[in-house]
Symmetry: C2
Subunit: 157 residues, 2 copies
Amino acid sequence: MSKKIVLALAALAVSASALTAHAQQTLKPEQAIKYRQSAYSYIKWNMDRIKANVEGANYNKSEVIQAANAISAIANSGMGALYTPGSDKDAGGVKTYVKPEFFTKQQEAARLAQNFIKEATELAKVAASGNAAAVKSQYGKLGGTCKACHDDFKVRN
Amino acid sequence: MSKKIVLALAALAVSASALTAHAQQTLKPEQAIKYRQSAYSYIKWNMDRIKANVEGANYNKSEVIQAANAISAIANSGMGALYTPGSDKDAGGVKTYVKPEFFTKQQEAARLAQNFIKEATELAKVAASGNAAAVKSQYGKLGGTCKACHDDFKVRN
């Protein structure tokens, strides 16, 4: 490829990412914090529903599928876009529970996020099988990825 | 079927629904309100992302799929379980924006909820096609189902 074309492509890539950055900048830090907290909150409810099913006397396959699909789709929705510049600290009266290190130790944060996405995706697959024991095991694995990130990057509240 | 068996089955059904009711009662009204608000909040972010894609100069197929899948999975997650007794009014310092009529006009509420679920499910299908014009149209249809419910059952805030 000619040097000219390479430079032109590079310029295009930069302007495309500038556009993306612009789109994300329209989200105020407090909005980004609220939206990501919404995601985790809804995941919590659905984790609790699955827990009740795998630990209780009754296993409702349909409820577990609904819950696991919601968790997986949220995990795979590109939540990383909600960790915008300025949202590393409380903003607009909204408190964040993420430690500032989450924004600086990006490789470690990305690794934990990828583990979370992987196990959430797997949970949705296992839920579809209706095998309660397998769901219980996979629920535990997913919970482990939540805890790993909380241990490193969540302020205790 | 003998009358005895019918009665036994009926008793079983009652105790099963009592168990479900019990499981749901462990959710405090303020928790139910927070969880459902989380769902709507996360849906809002994802609706906004799709809007930016269908109205902007650039269409990011992958982002639209992620957003539409999240909306669809949340819509299909059985959110109705979050409209628990006692959560029809502010509880534990958490304000709800649902009108009490949502709990009494159950047929109308169910109809609107079903429309929402139907169009959200369809949006995820259309998003997978990558056809921006079709996504724009389906986004509009889904937005219509949000508005229909807000008009009837949401307190203006």
